[in-house]
Amino acid sequence: MTPVDSIRSALDSLRANLLRTVLTTLGIVIGVAAVIAMVGVGRAAEQRVQSVMQNLGANIMIVLNGTSTSGGVRRGSGSKPSLTIGDADAIVRELSSVQAAAPSVRGTGQAVYGNTNWFTALQGVRDDYLPAREWGIASGRGIEATDDRGARKVAVIGRTVVEKLFGAEDPIGQTIRIQRVPFTVVGILASKGQTTWGSDQDDVIFIPLATAMKRVLGGRQVRGDYVHSITVKAYSGDQLADAEREVTTLLRQRHRIQSGQPDDFFIRNITQFLEARAEQERTMGFLLASVAGVSLLVGGIGIMNIMLVSVTERTREIGLRMAVGARARDILSQFVIEAVTLSLAGGMIGVALGVGGSLAASELAGWGLAISPEAILIAVAFSAGVGIFFGWYPALKASRLDPIEALRHA
């Protein structure tokens, strides 16, 4: 008997008991769906951590100004300036876990080149900012220490700004006006694309911190010597949590905050937050894995049970098949194929459900979607394996029947 014959006969008998078939496959359906969802959730979590790491630079946290309250109205974060360049220098000088602490100010402004203009983000930084964020220079140079010391009017511009102001022209060496102040373009940033949240990171102009504070953003967007943020880079991801604690202690000290009083700054540790979340999602993955395991086991036992029933019900058929020439291995393979067909059918439905479930999870819980072909392959292979494993014993039992006894069976 060829496998095609076996599959045809398997499909016949499964169709004959359609409801029973569907109920039997339920365990496999749930198990496989859980496998798909598990792999999908795990992969999505990892992908997001990686993409954020790439956007932000590795081992980064950001120190921001605290909130202020005026007349009971709480302003947003950064509304109460407290961070200074001195804070940044103290962090990098005194904390051994910190590799760099780059102060920066940010604002927005109109940039003009010739008769075109573009409204964009402005950021005043020192020479330590772009390296800390692992942000490369596509051509020209970055902001250097001397630019900041001399409060030079130089600008490093992002890819989007290049397109909007210069088109195909080479911007290096050209003069643009930012808030009416003329700047020489000295470099173009490597493109970073969009953030995970969809904002264009290439729509930005970097200028020296001192220049920004004195000439461009001073007064309205920057008050006094205060900076908007300090980007802190730890030596390694493991040190990030320590660094966060140490930075907090140091800044409270420097800002003379009494114990019991709240911080006048706060730290956004996105990497760690994401790691924690990825961990959480991994836990969810393990949970799904155990659901998958239990379901596949229960589903497998269900298949075994129904195959045993089927062998008993069809004892006469088995006897007849033996009488007309079926060997033990023909009967064995027929029933194993039937069990595998059963579990594969469940597997297919499970794949559909798992993909649907992952889509739903990514919609509802905001977990990214990552359906991998490997996961589907693994799930299908798993269900086939369950069919073989749990179908073997009933099939063996069928193949060992005595043809005479089997033919006599009522």
Binding site: M1, S13, E317, L320, A323, G325, L407
Partner: protein, 254 residues
């Protein structure tokens, strides 16, 4: 397997020497069959008779290669099958023997054509050839117009014809029928016997196990069993003609 034939096509289809079958029961044994000697030539039509417990079923199982003897030797179409293992016996059954059962034993979910194809699926017949051969077999038994009917859509007589088509589809050397008319009314039973007689006339060797003398009267030879032994081997000079009987009753009814 034609090439391994020892005696050649001219030898007897069945040669049985001192065949015995014991079943262990508790501490003792039941000797279901002993000292069974018989030779059956090609083209014979044999009825095996006897009360229950006489050994006729055991004899049929042994002759059908469904069971293996405890003692003695059995040559089927020149091959010593008494020493073959289960799988080899399955091959012999597939190529050499066509079975017909009292309860038809058709696959309920398959149509007539696919039921008849079944023995071919266990042989080496190419898929493309199967349907044609099954269709031929169904034509032989007069069911050319019922090929796509399922067993539930057929009468008892038609189901037994499908079973007979299944038994002859692989061109076996021996047709072995176990109470083939037991589930049918008298007239339909005679129709089935007429079919067996026709197949026999066309050269097929037929063995029928029955306890009904009215059925055995259509055979050319009757083997009677009692208490596990072959008691009587009777040659019938002029067997009843089932087809003529049917024609006669049709005339008298008209």
């Amino acid at each position: 397997m034609e090439d391994v034939r020892e005696d050649g096509a001219a030898g007897p289809i069945i040669r049985v020497e001192g065949l015995g079958r014991d079943y262990p029961v508790g501490t003792g044994v039941v000797r279901a069959l002993r000292d069974f000697d018989v030779t059956i030539e090609r083209g014979d039509f044999v009825a095996i008779m006897g009360p229950s417990g006489s050994g006729k079923s055991t004899a049929m199982h042994l002759l059908g290669c469904l069971d293996r003897p405890t003692s003695g030797r059995y040559f089927l179409d020149g091959i010593d099958v008494s020493a073959l293992d289960r799988d080899a016996l399955a091959g012999i059954r597939n190529r050499k023997i066509g079975f017909v059962f009292q309860a038809f034993n058709l696959l309920p979910r398959a149509n007539a054509l696919r039921n008849v194809e079944l023995p071919l699926t266990y042989g080496k017949t190419p898929r493309a050839e199967r349907a044609a051969r099954a269709a031929d077999a169904l034509k032989t038994v007069g069911l050319a117009d019922r090929m796509d009917h399922r067993p539930a859509q057929l009468s008892g007589g038609q189901m037994q014809r499908v079973a007979i088509a299944r038994a002859i589809v692989n061109q076996p050397v021996l047709l072995l029928a176990d109470e083939p008319t037991g589930a049918l009314d008298t007239r339909t039973g005679i129709e089935i016997m007429a079919l067996f007689q026709r197949l026999n006339t066309e050269g097929r060797t037929v063995i029928i196990v029955t306890h009904e003398p009215e059925i055995a009267q259509f055979a050319k030879r009757i083997l009677r069993f009692r208490d596990g032994r072959l008691e009587e081997d009777e040659r019938i000079a002029e067997p009843a003609d089932a087809a003529a009987l049917l024609a006669g009753s049709a005339r008298s009814a008209a």
